[in-house]
């Protein structure tokens, strides 16, 4: 019996990387501008806790936040893996790097799902 060829995992992870790149590019800047710069620096008056908590409790907002957190983590995993691989040329630790990067993204996704549930 010929062995069934193993399906490569790369295309699957690449799709997640690409989706994470899109999400990061389109959505992160406005979030960061508001929450980590404009509000802390006093450029804009932040919304009250209750209003914001109510907005974040909405199921659609939580789904949105889940995608906003999970996909960019896979984007990070892919890029960081190649940064270590090509940039720093740590090729002999390839397996460990893969586990660290994709494992980190998977754990992060789990934590996000738990928090946002």
């Amino acid at each position: 019996m010929p062995e069934r060829p193993k399906r490569p995992k790369e295309p699957f992870f690449w799709t997640l990387f690409s989706a994470g790149g899109v999400v990061s590019a389109f959505l992160l800047p406005v979030h960061l501008f508001l929450f980590v710069l404009a509000f802390p620096l006093g450029w804009l008056e932040p919304p009250a806790h209750d209003t914001l908590a109510q907005l974040a409790r909405h199921p659609l907002a939580r789904l949105y936040l889940f995608l906003l957190c999970s996909l960019p983590l896979f984007h990070w995993a892919h890029r960081f893996r190649y940064t270590l691989y090509d940039g720093l040329q740590i090729k002999h630790l390839n397996e460990m790097i893969n586990v660290f990067c994709y494992g980190g993204a998977i754990i992060g996704t789990g934590v996000a799902a738990y928090l946002l549930w």
């Binding site: 960061l32 802390p40 806790h49 914001l52 907005l55 957190c69 960019p72 990070w76 040329q89």
Partner: protein, 140 residues
């Protein structure tokens, strides 16, 4: 992914020039590539911040006030200023690559690259405006 090359006993040694670990430092294009890759570290950091923010937000007003206080500390502000620049760099380079990934044809003709980049920026501004409106509209 990685397939280790198999060596046979009489296989000639391959000639491979030794590349310095810092090969990317000496040319702007290479440096740009590495900076773009490093932007992903800040992206992961901001995901973490977003999750912490959500947790503080759902823990109550006091926890959220403490979180906001943390965001105001000088070291964190500096880090976030640098991180914001890296995220913008990611956005710009991502949109710059869009025409290579996305071939759009209209009436049998290929839509010019500049138009695809421009429509990405336009969509980005629109999406950002909607999110900002959602966040800001509830203020007293």
């Amino acid at each position: 992914m990685s397939s280790a090359p198999r060596y046979t006993e009489h296989h000639p040694r391959w000639y491979r020039e030794r590349v310095s670990t810092y090969w990317w430092l000496w040319r702007w294009n290479y440096l740009k590539f590495v900076l773009r890759e490093i932007s992903s570290v800040f992206i992961a950091w901001f995901v973490l911040v977003t999750l912490l923010q959500f947790r503080a937000l759902s823990s109550g007003a006091q926890a959220y006030a403490q979180f906001q206080e943390w965001l105001r500390s000088p070291g964190i502000l500096l880090l976030h200023l640098i991180g914001f620049a890296f995220v913008l760099f990611h956005t710009a380079t991502w949109f710059g690559l869009a025409p290579a990934a996305l071939v759009v044809r209209l009436g049998g003709k290929r839509v010019p690259a500049a138009l695809i980049v421009a429509s990405n920026y336009a969509a980005w501004l629109a999406v950002s405006a909607v999110i900002a409106w959602l966040v800001l509209r509830g203020r007293a």
